[in-house]
Symmetry: C2
Subunit: 357 residues, 2 copies
């Protein structure tokens, strides 16, 4: 609604998929080959994005972590997919103003910590709000999907599902909330950061290479879709045992398909494997599932557990990793929220990011 001269600022958080999005049936529209289900994380990791509509700049402009990028719609521009989407939103609104976007992560970008998902959710929420478009959540998720596939899930708190859809134009490929955090508040995520570097193969390149070259991948989609259906059931009944089993198997299946690609993609490292072994040993020792690991496109782990068991899981991870790992305990997030003017990232005098302290 704030179509005036003030920036709109939104904070969003990454999500961690328990059944993953890997491989696309349409790479321009980010249409997946299976439905995916995730937990939106609490605010320990977050992305803040401010959007301003203004006549005072010449071109649509994007600052990511202080670095300036021109937002074009030409295919050779680095962020053309964002430019294209914002252009479309502006067309819906009819405005002729330029858009200034400033976004910052409080954690490493490109390290497999879903910075692009949180970024897409914050951007689309803020842009839609700045333009006063009144998009509903389903429509917003479709637009966020175009920027970053898994970003569509970060528009919802708690547990979210991204329906794969069947239509060629993607109109039935959107996300929605399955359960608010209150449904199963005991569930938490321990993020184990073992490597803060950028991943050697980007998520986008990984999707494409796996689809184009892995023989085994052709068979993953069916299993993954079936896992999504079983996971919905497990979440409904708060069945930790089933959820943990499905989560670990799906993560392993995705990374198996990466390894089967050509040239092979190895996101996991020795510390990732140490975490996997520690979790299996812990579960074996307890005679029941107390934790489940899952890895996105990088070596850093998300270990899903319950508040009750979080301390002993963290102790086991520390034992297996020593001082190498940074552990962070996160609850479930409530989805994006609009911040006040004081938290804006835009210096209105200079129309640039506010000075970093």
């Amino acid at each position: 609604m704030a179509t005036g001269n003030e920036p709109t600022t939104v904070l969003a958080t990454p999500n961690i998929a328990l059944v993953k999005y890997w491989g696309r049936r349409d790479s321009r529209l980010n249409l997946p080959t299976n439905s995916s289900i995730s937990i939106t994380l609490g605010e320990g990791l977050s992305t803040r994005t401010s959007v301003l509509l203004t006549n005072r700049i010449r071109n649509d402009t994007l600052y990511i972590n202080g670095e300036r990028h021109r937002l074009g719609t030409a295919k050779d521009e680095k962020f053309f997919y964002i430019g294209r989407v914002l252009d479309e939103l502006k067309r819906m609104d009819g405005t002729k103003k330029r858009m200034l976007v400033v976004t910052e992560n409080n954690y490493p970008t490109g390290a497999g910590l879903a910075s692009s998902a949180a970024g897409a959710a914050a951007l689309i929420h803020a842009a839609s709000e700045a333009l006063g478009l009144n998009l509903d959540a389903k429509e917003m998720s479709r637009v966020a999907r175009l920027v970053s596939g898994s970003g569509c899930r970060s528009l919802f708190g708690g547990f979210a599902i991204w329906h794969m859809g069947k239509e060629a134009d993607g109109r039935d490929s959107y996300a929605e909330q399955l359960y608010a955090p209150e449904h199963w508040p005991d569930i938490v995520d321990i993020v184990a950061i073992v490597d803060r570097g950028r991943k050697p193969v980007s998520t986008s390149e990984g999707h494409e290479r796996t689809r184009a070259s892995s023989n085994l991948y052709k068979y993953r989609a069916d299993h993954a879709e079936e896992r999504s259906m079983r996971l919905m059931d497990a979440l409904k009944h708060r069945d930790f045992e089933s959820m943990a089993h499905i989560t670990m198997r799906d993560s392993n299946s995705m990374h198996a398909c990466c390894l089967d690609s050509y040239p092979p993609i190895n996101y996991l490292n020795d510390d990732s494997v140490r975490i996997m072994r520690a979790v299996h040993m812990l579960n074996d020792a307890h005679g029941e599932m107390v934790a489940a690991y899952t890895f996105d496109a990088g070596p850093n782990a998300h270990v899903i557990t319950t508040r009750r068991n979080a301390e002993r899981v963290m102790a086991a991870l520390k034992d297996s990793l020593g001082k190498r790992a940074e552990l962070m305990l996160l609850g479930q997030g409530s989805g994006p929220r609009i911040l006040g003017a004081k938290e804006s990232l835009i210096d209105m005098e200079r129309l640039r990011p506010v000075a970093h302290e």
Copy 2:
């Protein structure tokens, strides 16, 4: 023919499969789900085995690297499968004597360097010789297969194929030579030992866990059988490009199925991944294939290349691994050979392994 009182001693070498044996349709008879093709390696890595038929000991006895094991045929004995096979060979011969077997590897056992394959080939060759059974090579390979599946290929020099066969009793599942080393003498193998420890999951357990639990594995067999057929063609035409491509893809497919098993099996480590990347970079830099990696059930690499390129491949591996790796350049082996009495491992006075210097 030496059925007298002298031990028979045979030296055999490991083989490295370019299309791998992984997963069995019958685990008692070691019947595979696809045909496999390997290179028998030169004598840098080797197993020596002495067999003596004697009335001077009470039970069939096996020494492995100096450690004594009783050779029973009961299922709970550690080496019952060897006991069973030797029992069968003795029955064919009609002898009532006991068998003393002494075997030694000149390299680490259980580190994914195919010690069991070389051991099975040396044992069956030596036992058959000691008993004077005159088994032909095909028959010997069927017997070696019962001891260690991939062992049946180590009975032949150069390139060997193990036909998967279709019969339930395994009579058509045997190995034979495809080409002697002279067919393509330029081909060599650089063994990169990055870890001398025992693998965390034995080959036998790995086979079984993958078959029982991996979803993706069900689809590997078809691809692997087809790769074997294409590899035969590549070997016939000395087509390094195709051989290299098939070899790397098959190795990655096997390890992908391991990762997809439950609990997952991770044989590769960070050094393995460094080697994989170094080989891809080298091939890219040359604009053609000059090397191909392949990994058995462990992190140690075999890098197949040509004599012409061996030096630059070794330099690239050293660059990527630093001092961690021990590299060994091996040519193709000629298959098992009988050694003279001086090289026997049996101290005839004490009927024990000769004292180690």
